[in-house]
C-alpha cells in the first residue's frame, strides 16, 4: 500500500506488520505522554524528587542521551573534517540517532522545570556565568544543526525527491553539509563540556567539584571526551540492534570496524584521563576539603567503591582493549560486549555525576539520602526511547538511511517497477538512488 514511498532496491516488511510495531511502541509513547502531562499540569510533586534530590532521574537521562548522542557530532567530524570516507555508510544513521537523542533531551528538560512556561527565561535572562546557560544555548543550536543535517535525508524520500524544488534543495544542502558538520562539532564540544561543567563547578559539593583551566573544570573536558568515545559505540549498538530487528546487514563491516577502532582509542585515552582526574581528586582535592575517597563510597547501601571500579576498569579499559585490537572488533560477540560496556560506562558516569552528588552528605551532621523515581519519572524517561524507536522505524522504512543496504541485500526488481522507474524518473543527473545524505 505504501510501496511508492519505500526506497527503490530494498525490501520492507508488510504494512500491517509495520503498523503493529509502531502501535506497540505508540502505547509506550502514550504512557509517557500521559505522565508528561501529569507533570505539566499537576507539577513536579508527581515525582519522587525532594529538596535533597533537586536533580534526579531526568537530569541523568538528559546527560546520558546527550552523551550517547555524541556519535553524531564525532562521526560527522571524522567524516567531513578528518576525511574518513568509509563512515559515509553510517553517517546518516548517526545523524538520525543524534537527532532523536537531542530532541529527547530538550523534551526532558521541558518537563523537568518547575515553571515550564518560563523556560525561555534561560535565553532571555541568561546568566553568562552559569554552565546551564551554556548548555541551553549550545544544545538548542546544535539541535538546529542536527535538524539541518536530517532534512536532506527526508528530502531523499522517493516521492519528495520527485518535486524539483525539494530535489535541488536536498542537493544543495549536501554541498554545504561540511560547514554544518564543523559547526556541530564546535557546538558539541561546548555543550558536552558544559554538561560536565554543570557538576564540576559545584564548589559546595566536594564529590563533584574539580579544578580546571580558566572557567572550565576538568569534568568539562572529560565529558566531551567520553561522549566522543562512547557516542560512536552507541551508534554502532543501535545499528547492530536494527540489523537484528530487520534481519539484514545494513552497514559494511569496514565502516563499523573503523568507527569501533577510533572509539577504542578514544576510550583508552579517556579512561587514562579519567583515572588521573580521579587520582588527583582522591589524593589532593578532596582531602583539602576534609574528605577521603572512601567517605564518598561508604556508609550507604548503594554507592560503594564498586561503582568507580566498574566505570573505569570494566566499562573503560575492557571495551577499549577489545575495540583497539583488530581481533577484538572483528569478533561479533566481543564487539557486542565492548560497545554495550562502553555505552553502559558513559551512562554510569552520568548517573554518578548527577545522583551520587546529591546523595553524598556534605555537612558532618547530614546523612546519605537515597531516592527511587516515581512511575511518572520512569514513564517520561522511557517516552524518548519509544519516540526514538518510532522515528527510526519510520525513517528506515521510507528513507534511504543505509546507503549500502541495497548492495548488501540485493533483490530482483519486479518488471512493472522497472518500467515505472524508466517512465517517471526526472531527466536530471541524479546519482541519487540510495545515495548517502552527505554525498
Amino acid at each position: 500500500m505504501d510501496s511508492a514511498l519505500i526506497p527503490k532496491g530494498v525490501k520492507r516488511c508488510p504494512l500491517w506488520q509495520f503498523l503493529l510495531f509502531i502501535g506497540a511502541a505508540g502505547i509506550v509513547l502514550l504512557w509517557g505522554v500521559y505522565a508528561m502531562f501529569l507533570c505539566w499540569f499537576k507539577g513536579l510533586n508527581q515525582t519522587n524528587m525532594n529538596d535533597y534530590y533537586g536533580f534526579a532521574l531526568w537530569i541523568w537521562a538528559d546527560l546520558a542521551v546527550i552523551a550517547v548522542g555524541g556519535g553524531a557530532f564525532f562521526t560527522g567530524l571524522l567524516r567531513y573534517i578528518f576525511g574518513k570516507d568509509a563512515l559515509k555508510n553510517i553517517i546518516n544513521y548517526a545523524v538520525l540517532i543524534g537527532f532523536i537523542c537531542y530532541s529527547s533531551a530538550l523534551l526532558i528538560l521541558a518537563i523537568d522545570i518547575g515553571q515550564p512556561l518560563r523556560g525561555w527565561f534561560i535565553f532571555w535572562h541568561a546568566n553568562v556565568h552559569s554552565m546551564l546557560t551554556e548548555v541551553a544555548f549550545c544544545l538548542s543550536c546544535y539541535f538546529g544543526v542536527l535538524t539541518i543535517e536530517y532534512i536532506p535525508l527526508i528530502l531523499e524520500n522517493r516521492q519528495i525527491d520527485k518535486v524539483p524544488f525539494f530535489h535541488h534543495l536536498g542537493h544543495n544542502m549536501h554541498e554545504v553539509m561540511a560547514v554544518f558538520a564543523a559547526t556541530g562539532a564546535f557546538l558539541s564540544f561546548f555543550h558536552q563540556g558544559s554538561l560536565g561543567g554543570v557538576a564540576g563547578v559545584l564548589f559546595g559539593r566536594p564529590f563533584a567539584f574539580r579544578e580546571g583551566i580558566f572557567i572550565w573544570p576538568w569534568t568539562f573536558f572529560l565529558f566531551t571526551w567520553s561522549a566522543a568515545a562512547c557516542g560512536p559505540c552507541f551508534t554502532i549498538l543501535v545499528t547492530k540492534i536494527t540489523e537484528k530487528v530487520v534481519g539484514k546487514k545494513l552497514v559494511k563491516d569496514y565502516a563499523i570496524e573503523l568507527l569501533a577502532k577510533i572509539s577504542g582509542w578514544m576510550l583508552l585515552t579517556y579512561t587514562i584521563a579519567k583515572f588521573i582526574d580521579t587520582w588527583y581528586w582522591a589524593t589532593v582535592l578532596a582531602p583539602s576539603q576534609g574528605f577521603t575517597l572512601m567517605d564518598f563510597y561508604t556508609n550507604n547501601p548503594l554507592y560503594g567503591i564498586w561503582i568507580l571500579i566498574t566505570e573505569i576498569a570494566i566499562c573503560g579499559l575492557v571495551p577499549a582493549a577489545i575495540l583497539m585490537t583488530p581481533k577484538g572488533r572483528k569478533n561479533p560477540v566481543a564487539l557486542w560486549i565492548a560497545i554495550s560496556l562502553a555505552v553502559a560506562g558513559v551512562c554510569l558516569n552520568r548517573w554518578v555525576m548527577v545522583l551520587q552528588i546529591m546523595a553524598v552528605p556534605v555537612m558532618t551532621f547530614d546523612n546519605w539520602v537515597l531516592y527511587f523515581p516515581s512511575w511518572q519519572e520512569v514513564a517520561t524517561t522511557i517516552l524518548p526511547v519509544a519516540y526514538g524507536v518510532i522515528l527510526i522505524a519510520i525513517s528506515y522504512r521510507y528513507l534511504p538511511v543505509f546507503p549500502n543496504e541495497a548492495e548488501l541485500n540485493p533483490i530482483e526488481p519486479l518488471p512493472a517497477e522497472e518500467a515505472e522507474e524508466k517512465s517517471v524518473e526526472p531527466p536530471v543527473d541524479l546519482e541519487l538512488e540510495l545515495k548517502p545524505a552527505e554525498a
Partner: protein
C-alpha cells in the same frame, strides 16, 4: 554601576548564633515561617519535602551516657559571598539570574517571578538551605488574612530560601530615608528569628561595621575572606570556600569541629551524630 559610583561603604549583614545558648526550642523556625509566609502542608512528616528557611538540627557528640552532649544548630541561609564578591555557590550557577548577590547588603536574593524551577541552585548548596515549592501553597481557611503583606507568597515550581527578612531591611531603609538619616541604626533592621529567640542566641547586624555586636562577637578577618578571629567562632563548611555570613559560637570543641570535615590524621575528633 550605581553602587560603584557612590563610593559608599557597603554593609554586609550577617548573623552570629551562640550554640551554647540555643535550647532547640524552635521559636526561630516558627517566627520565620510566620514572618515570611512559608507554605506548609497537612502532613509535614517528610522533612525532605518540608520548607524550613530556618531549620534547627540536633547534634550529639556520639558518646555514651553520661558523656553524651547535645547541641542544637539553627541553620538559616548562609548568604554566602564566595571567594570573590557575589560568587556564592547558588548565584554563580543560576541560569536566569533569578538569585542575585547584593553588593549593598551582602544578602543573596531570590526572585520568585524570575525563577523557572531548574533547581540547579539547590544542587549547588551544601547547606540544603534552598527549598522547592513542589505544591502550590494552600492556606487553611481564614489564614490568608494573617499572611504578611510585605512578603509575596511563592507559587508552585519555584525555589525559595531565607532572605534575612529582606523586607524588614527595605522598610527600615524607607523609614530612615523619610527621616533624613543616611544610615540604619543597629536595632532598626533585625530578622524575625533574632527577635523570636527567647535565649538571645541569635545576634544580627552589619559585619562590616565594627560597632555592631555581630562584628565584635565573630571578629571576621577581611584578609582571610571573613574567617572569624574569635577562637570560639566558626562557620559551617569553612574549607569549601563558600564564605558564609552566618557565624556560630561554642565553647565546646566537638561542636566547633562539627562545623567542618576533617581527615582522621588532622586531629582525632569523633564525628557528631545527626538526629533529625
Amino acid at each position: 554601576m550605581k553602587e560603584g559610583r557612590t563610593h559608599k561603604k557597603f554593609q554586609k549583614f550577617g548573623m552570629v548564633i551562640d550554640l551554647d545558648k540555643c535550647t532547640g526550642c524552635g521559636s526561630c523556625m516558627v517566627a520565620c515561617m510566620a514572618e515570611n509566609n512559608v507554605p506548609f502542608r497537612k502532613d509535614e512528616s517528610n522533612k525532605l519535602l518540608s520548607i524550613t528557611w530556618m531549620r534547627v538540627y540536633k547534634l550529639t557528640n556520639g558518646m555514651p551516657f553520661p558523656k553524651i552532649d547535645v547541641c542544637y544548630l539553627p541553620r538559616p541561609c548562609m548568604q554566602c559571598e564566595g571567594q570573590h564578591e557575589g560568587h556564592s555557590p547558588c548565584v554563580s550557577v543560576c541560569p536566569a539570574i533569578a538569585t542575585d548577590y547584593s553588593m549593598e547588603s551582602g544578602i543573596v536574593s531570590q526572585i520568585y517571578t524570575r525563577c523557572f524551577g531548574c533547581r540547579y541552585c539547590m544542587a549547588s548548596c551544601p547547606y540544603h538551605a534552598r527549598y522547592f515549592n513542589w505544591w502550590d501553597p494552600i492556606w487553611p481557611d481564614g489564614m490568608e488574612k494573617y499572611l504578611s503583606p510585605n512578603v509575596s507568597p511563592r507559587m508552585r515550581g519555584v525555589v525559595e530560601k531565607c532572605s534575612f527578612c529582606f523586607h524588614r531591611y527595605q522598610l527600615a531603609k524607607d523609614r530612615a530615608f523619610m527621616e533624613g538619616r543616611p544610615e540604619l541604626q543597629e536595632d532598626e533592621y533585625q530578622t524575625a528569628c533574632t527577635q523570636a529567640c527567647p535565649a538571645g542566641a541569635i545576634t544580627f547586624g552589619d559585619l562590616n561595621n565594627p560597632k555592631h555586636t555581630v562584628s565584635k562577637m565573630a571578629e571576621p578577618d577581611p584578609k582571610h575572606s571573613g574567617r572569624p578571629k574569635n577562637p570560639n567562632a566558626f562557620r559551617l563548611l569553612e574549607r569549601l570556600g563558600t564564605n558564609p555570613k552566618v557565624y556560630y559560637l561554642s565553647s565546646r570543641e566537638w561542636v566547633r569541629r562539627a562545623g567542618d570535615n576533617y581527615l582522621k590524621n588532622e586531629k582525632k575528633v569523633k564525628k557528631p551524630v545527626h538526629h533529625g
